[in-house]
């Protein structure tokens, strides 16, 4: 029986690389979807507003684990055999779009009403109002919570292990199955997650302090 050694450690690190890849995919694609959700949530059209709020309610009310299972098995309905990475990315994108979308909606709504009105008075179109007045201010506000949310994304990619995607947690499970040394194995897995997430947390805190100067 193999014991925990360098080979196992390297295997875990390879898993960590996939965790990072999945996180980047989830953040990249999810951010686009989240922006659309945020815009829909503050839309003047009541139908779009209502539909998007139901969307958020449904995604936020479903555990990510169940989303993963649905996305993964959903494709099998049509006889398409998708790689676990695709299933996981879709589930993570849905998750990010609902949660980050709500965060960004808050940022957009925190821009004072008068700014929107002033922009209207200048004769800006809706796109111009977003582009030149609201977004430059909202993006600044949104950076700290977005960085903090990245920690959630990295941690939640661990759920991709249930559909068999070999990221860090799944790698840890595989190593544990062959070495039967759960303590050392999962402590190292946790330590690698910590090494990825903690700098992000600290960064988020620094940004929060930096952008909050005006309010102190």
């Amino acid at each position: 029986m193999p014991t925990f050694g360098l080979n196992q450690f390297v295997f875990l690190l390879q898993g960590a690389v996939w965790t990072i890849i999945l996180s980047i995919l989830a953040l990249g694609i999810g951010a686009v979807a989240a922006f659309i959700v945020a815009l829909c949530r503050i839309s003047a059209n009541p139908v779009i507003k209502y539909v998007s709020s139901v969307y958020v309610l449904v995604i936020q009310g479903t555990p990510l684990m169940v989303l993963m299972l649905i996305c993964y098995f959903g494709f099998n309905l049509y006889g398409i055999d998708v790689p676990a990475l695709v299933g996981a990315t879709i589930a993570m994108t849905l998750y990010v779009s609902a949660f980050l979308g709500e965060v960004w909606r808050g940022c957009l709504e925190s821009i004072p009403r008068t700014q929107w009105e002033a922009s209207d008075c200048l004769g800006h179109s809706r796109v111009q109002r977003m582009r030149y007045v609201v977004l430059p201010q909202a993006i600044k506000i949104s950076i700290p919570p977005t960085v903090t949310f990245m920690v959630q994304i990295v941690k939640n990619t661990s759920l991709a292990s249930i559909i068999g995607f070999v990221e860090l947690t799944q790698a840890g499970k595989l190593v544990n199955n062959s070495t039967f040394q759960p303590f050392i194995c999962f402590v190292i897995v946790a330590a690698i997650y910590f090494a990825i997430c903690y700098p992000l947390s600290i960064w988020g805190k620094i940004l929060e302090r930096k952008y909050n100067v005006g309010h102190r």
Partner: protein, 227 residues
């Protein structure tokens, strides 16, 4: 290819899913209660403790908040069994969830404690209140009142996160779904029903928690606003 949806299995299997739903609720309620108490203690130590005790609380909070719940659950489950401790899966799940939510609660409650104006505390000290009295009456109660909405959202997220314990074969809602799925092979329908159950649960839990807040914070109820 056109897929035929088939929900007929629900006639045989609903008691199992209902049992799972009940277990999810019990598990979340227990861990929320335990985690809240532990989290309040951690927040107090973090704000008023000093030296190594405070550092230990800080390290605990940061470590738990920066590692995935799934890994924590595995560590506890496989770790305990490897040193020969045999406890039921349900207990393992509740312990893992409580320890997890305690760290998040502590961080939220700490924000509430920090928001209490220094003048309040000085006034209480002038009235001759003891340190414990100040912490409990002047700091903790208004702090909890202020952060209660944030705690509520966190506890709803915990209820959803309890699905993770299906990975150590706890037969809560997702676990029950896995069992039904493995017998009927109707994965999409099963997880669809499970998802609907979770969405309903999250709405019900949110209502229940805000109802509880309405009962627990009479001042807020009468004033209609935070202190």
């Amino acid at each position: 290819m056109v897929y035929q949806f088939d929900f007929s299995f629900i006639w045989d299997q609903w008691p199992r899913l209902l049992q799972g739903l009940w277990l999810t609720l019990a598990m979340s309620a227990l861990s929320t209660g335990l985690g809240f108490l532990l989290g309040t203690g951690l927040a107090i130590v973090n704000s008023y403790g000093r030296g190594p005790v405070r550092t230990a609380a800080r390290v605990y909070i940061e470590v738990v908040r920066n590692t995935p719940l799934l890994v924590q659950v595995f560590l506890l489950y496989f770790g305990l069994s490897s040193i020969g401790v045999r406890i039921p899966v349900f207990a393992t799940a509740v312990i893992a969830l409580s320890f997890n939510i305690a760290a998040y609660s502590a961080e939220i409650i700490r924000a509430g404690i920090e928001s209490i104006a220094a003048g309040q505390i000085e006034a209480a000290e002038c009235l001759g209140m003891s340190r414990a009295q100040v912490i409990f009456h002047i700091v903790l109660q208004p702090a909890l009142e202020r952060v209660y909405p944030a705690l509520t959202s966190q506890y709803v997220l915990l209820m959803l996160a309890s699905s993770i314990t299906s990975q150590i074969s706890a037969e809560e809602l997702t676990g029950a779904g896995n069992l039904v799925q493995s017998e009927t092979f109707r994965s999409f329908e099963v997880y669809g029903i499970v998802a609907v159950c979770y969405i309903s649960l999250s709405i019900v839990v949110r209502f229940a928690l805000s109802g509880f807040g309405w009962l627990a914070f009479p001042r807020r109820r009468r004033l209609g606003t935070n202190l």
